[in-house]
Symmetry: C2
Subunit: 165 residues, 2 copies
DNA sequence: CACTGTAACTTTCATTATGCAAGTTACAAG
DNA sequence: CTTGTAACTTGCATAATGAAAGTTACAGTG
């Protein structure tokens, strides 16, 4: 049964998930960030069926996150490289990984980030670019943006006072 | 065909996606962050089939992101409220929404964040908590963490020099 | 009292996606 | 020639999904 497309939703998250929201897609991107690029590398790393991997790589390529490049003419051989759009997905992967490490890793975080130059360990948090205010669910509100539509206005209008735990 | 579980993967992102990686799950969380809490509210907002919504709410509840609370005894009525673990997912949703808005919104961002107290618009970016170094794909490396396993070490060992675009 | 409407699901059924396993093609190497 | 490899493709059985109808437990109304 074909799952409902999010394409018609006026929502950044939904639009993003239309590109990356299928099972396996984000893990393929994880591996691309780790430097994997070839079909068999992804398949071995993930243990994914080849027909599923083909479909996912195609979808990620069509949506501009990966670039399918030829690396051998005879025989034709291809690799899949992150595009700039794909690389811009990095903060999503970092925050997702951090959440998973915090809440689900049984023996502490599996990985951590370090400054490439100094080797100093880093703890990623979300801040406002100019004021350096730490961004949390409790201290921000969501406003309509420049591209807001009636749908967005309606969605924001139906929200309620945030529930206190 | 039952899709492959990520449970056995030693990876924060995979563990996270085991909880939220099915179609609809993250959008349900989005709506929960916007204050929706009842079955019919989610269903109306998302246009999702009721059997799928039931399964997803159950899964999110079992995985500790939502709390199913009774709000009426006669008749029994329930609402779904974000837990602390659920609220900790906020940075993921923010970065995902930002990526979607930047790359896929046709007329600019659908929404933006604002400081709850001052109303000042915010631009979320990822920084290191102590040094305030901006975290980007280009300036960090991934290291084994305290919970790293053989699998993690192997995965990190197979990475290659990052490809230059 | 009966009827209606609502909330929160549950059930049924046909369609699509998935994993498994085998197969195909175009090479290079021996 | 055979063998091995990379990158898929194909066939098939199973699971997930959407659409639509149904069920239960009420409250409200006439």
């Amino acid at each position: 049964m074909k799952h409902t497309s999010y394409k018609a939703m006026d929502c950044g998250a939904a639009q993003a998930l239309e590109c990356v929201g299928e099972w396996w897609s984000i893990l393929i991107l994880r591996d691309a960030f780790l430097g994997l690029s070839r079909f068999d590398e992804f398949q071995t790393s993930l243990g994914i069926a080849s027909n599923s991997l083909t479909r996912r790589l195609k979808h990620l390529t069509e949506n501009g996150l990966l670039d399918r490049r030829i690396y051998s003419e005879r025989p034709k051989r291809y690799e899949y490289i992150l595009t700039e759009r794909g690389r811009d997905f990095f903060p999503v992967l970092v925050t997702l990984t951090k959440w998973g490490n915090q809440h689900l890793a049984p023996n502490g975080a599996y990985v951590q980030l370090a400054d490439r130059l100094t080797g100093k360990l880093l703890e990623p948090i979300l801040m406002d670019k100019s004021s350096l205010l730490k961004i949390t669910y409790e201290n921000v509100t969501v406003q309509p943006g420049p591209g807001a539509t009636e749908e967005v206005l309606a969605r924001l209008a139906t929200r309620k006072v945030k529930n206190e735990q």
